[in-house]
């Protein structure tokens, strides 16, 4: 039976299931308790599970990520909520230097099987320090896994897989998706980590995106269809590991690839995909691989400028026409 949930409700459902399933699982973060989470994902969970399982932490991102590592090394299953990915920067030492390395450096004597949930993205007029997308940085680190759901269905399915992971995983939610609605199966399902999703099939061009850029690319594809261009849209779902096979198979079919990302293009995930595809499917390409990304500026506050920075439907369509010479 399908059920309509918001992205937020799907996440709450996933967390709730995890807490019911495992007494050693707990949610810790800034204002996850009585406040209900900065984006209201944990609303009601303190009342249901009590303060041992839903833990308000001080503003100490580094310490709570490290606590996630230490406590998961000896059997607990922490879900550490970092209010936004911008704040995760002050905890990068713990995430990158420690959590990501502990299994390798200890030769599998210890591991850090815990989850960091955090929030990416711009578009909410929060200015330069609160509107960034750092998940591509994290995706470059061996030892971490990174997923970024684009819909309520994916949020729940990816969460269920992510909570079972035996290594540190960063679960990247999007600030503007929490209220988005979608159909979620009532029957139990999971979405595997590391597999992309062909959300729309097409023959003329492949668009690859993740998170908030996926629904935007579907809108782009619907408009281009009216113009006679048949676009395939692929949702990466996971950034590490990422699904080369699905993208290369698609490029082999469409012979054209454009990557859309909200993050800056420089050193970005689109560059990683473009490089890999030209290495492994060069002969299939009928033209240069395109990339549409956030403009290379710190995010301005005012809406007239902010809307220029984040890829828009019009900018993507214009870029595609240039790319296709149509």
């Amino acid at each position: 039976m399908p059920n309509v949930l918001t992205y937020r409700e799907a996440l709450t459902k996933g967390i709730r299931e995890a807490l019911i399933d495992n007494d050693d699982c707990f949610l810790m973060g800034e204002d996850v308790g009585a406040y209900g989470g900065a984006y209201a994902v944990s609303k009601g969970l303190l009342e249901e599970f009590g303060p041992k399982r839903i833990v308000d932490s001080p503003l100490s991102e580094s310490a709570i990520v490290g606590l996630g590592t230490g406590s998961s090394m000896v059997g607990l299953k922490p879900i550490i909520e970092i209010m936004t990915i911008n704040f995760l920067l002050v905890a990068l030492d713990q995430l990158v230097n420690h959590a990501a390395k502990i299994r390798y450096m200890s030769a599998n004597q210890y591991a850090a099987p815990f989850m960091v949930r955090t929030v990416t993205g711009g578009g909410a007029q929060l200015g330069a320090t609160h509107s960034q997308c750092f998940e591509p940085w994290l995706a470059s680190v061996p030892g971490l896994k990174v997923v970024a759901p684009s819909s309520p269905y994916d949020a729940l399915g990816l969460f269920r897989s992510a909570i079972k992971e035996k290594d540190p995983i960063v679960f990247v939610e999007h600030i503007l998706l929490y209220g988005s609605k979608g159909i979620v199966d009532e029957d139990y399902y999971e979405i595997p980590i590391g597999k992309a999703n062909v959300v729309r099939s097409g023959d003329n061009l492949t668009l690859v995106a993740y998170s908030k850029m996926v629904p935007l690319c579907i809108e782009v594809a619907n408009t281009l269809e009216e113009q006679g261009i048949d676009v395939e849209v692929i949702d990466l779902r996971s950034l590490r590991p990422w699904d080369k096979e699905t993208i290369i198979n698609s490029v082999n079919k469409t012979n054209r690839l454009v990557i859309v990302e909200e993050a800056w293009r420089s050193g970005g995930f689109g560059a990683e995909i473009a490089s890999t595809v030209q290495e492994e499917a060069f002969d299939s390409l009928d033209g240069p691989i395109g990339r549409v990304g956030g403009l290379e500026v710190p995010m301005p506050y005012t809406s007239v400028l902010e809307s220029q920075v984040i890829p828009s439907k019009d900018r993507i369509i214009e870029y595609i026409h240039q790319n296709l010479n149509t």
């Binding site: 707990f26 310490a63 709570i64 490290g66 406590s71 030492d93 420690h98 200890s106 030769a107």
Partner: protein, 331 residues
């Protein structure tokens, strides 16, 4: 179930006194061999020796139960050996061999032994502190009675992670003992030029955390003080901050000739060599006569075996390169 504490030091037996001496000599000779084999090119990378500081690891770790955790910084050989990691596996690790504590993957600064609840040497200054807090958090969450001994150097006092960790530990009454090994220098900078607080142990007061200072060159004092602390922490009295004053007899690492400190200072501290101090005490109190040479011979023999084992062991293979990054490629 709460663990029972070992007897306090006034009930320490003669054999335990000798055990402390042997462990300190074990560490001293291990570090001497490391230095030798670094010069001979068998050990590479950064090598930070614990020489001079042995009394702290040996005295405090001797108070622990099997279920307790030890986590430390990159000057970690002493803590590992004090916790019972065998010298031959540690030496093989430094030689980069597959038989090492982590098969040559971690190296000197990253020794681990889960069978001894030795949760690592950690090489980013202060980085072990939040992880130590996590170990203690789990012990409290599951009510295991385990105590975490978390070592840090004086340099780590100035890292933000120190403040965050001290605050969390105190806020949540976690069963953790922070032992700050104050060896007076953060690399080459004197501690008084780096830490605003003059009496370092009093930093604990900022967190309403009980705190004190101990003579880190006196193994019996370290043992007596930490034994009492661990008992209190195990009984739910919350965390503790202990400053142990000490001196490293060698440079920060093998690359450091210690030009920033005078030889007079070094000679004065060597008069307080923890091994000599303890040996003198044993003799003065009628526990020892002439056993010292015998102990050195025994420990040198352990080192001969360790070096032979490390030398004869195989290097890891290219197949090992991609193992253990994720659960999927555990090997």
């Amino acid at each position: 179930m709460a663990l029972k504490n070992k007897a306090v030091s006034n009930k320490t037996s003669k054999s335990e006194y000798f055990e402390l001496l042997e462990k300190m000599i074990l560490i001293r000779l291990f570090e001497d061999r490391c230095s030798e084999h670094y010069s001979r090119g068998n050990i590479k990378g950064f090598l930070h020796l614990y020489t001079g500081e042995e009394a702290i690891a040996v005295g405090s770790i001797s108070c622990l139960e099997k279920e307790d955790y030890v986590i430390t910084h990159y000057r970690d050989h002493g803590h590992a050996l004090a916790r019972g990691v065998e010298a031959k596996y540690a030496m093989a690790e430094l030689f980069g061999k597959s038989t090492g504590t982590t098969g040559g993957i971690g190296g000197s600064m990253h020794i681990f032994d889960a069978t001894k609840n030795f949760a690592g040497g950690h090489a980013i200054v202060g980085g072990q502190l939040p992880i130590g807090v996590g170990l203690a958090y789990a012990a409290k969450y599951k009510n295991t009675g385990a105590v975490t001994l978390c070592f840090l150097g004086d340099g780590a006092l100035n890292e933000g992670e120190f403040h965050e960790s001290m605050n969390l530990a105190a806020l949540w009454d976690l069963p953790i003992v922070f032992i700050c090994e104050n060896n007076l220098y953060g690399m080459g900078v004197p501690v008084e030029e780096a830490v605003a607080k003059k009496d370092i142990f009093e930093i604990g007061h900022a967190y309403d955390m009980p705190c004190s200072r101990v003579d880190g060159m006196n193994v019996l004092e370290v043992k007596e003080v930490t034994n009492k602390i661990i008992k209190d922490v195990r009984n739910g009295k919350g965390p503790y901050f202990l400053e142990a004053q000490t001196y490293r007899f060698r440079g920060h690492s093998m690359a450091d000739p210690s030009m920033y400190r005078g030889s007079t200072e070094e000679e004065l501290w060597k008069l307080r060599d923890p091994i000599n101090l303890h040996w003198s005490w044993l003799k003065e109190n009628g526990y020892a006569k002439d056993e010292l040479n015998e102990i050195y011979e025994k420990m040198n023999s352990v080192m001969d075996d360790a070096v032979q084992f490390a030398t004869e062991s195989e290097f890891p293979t290219i197949d090992d390169l991609y193992k253990n990054i994720y659960f999927e490629n555990v090997g």
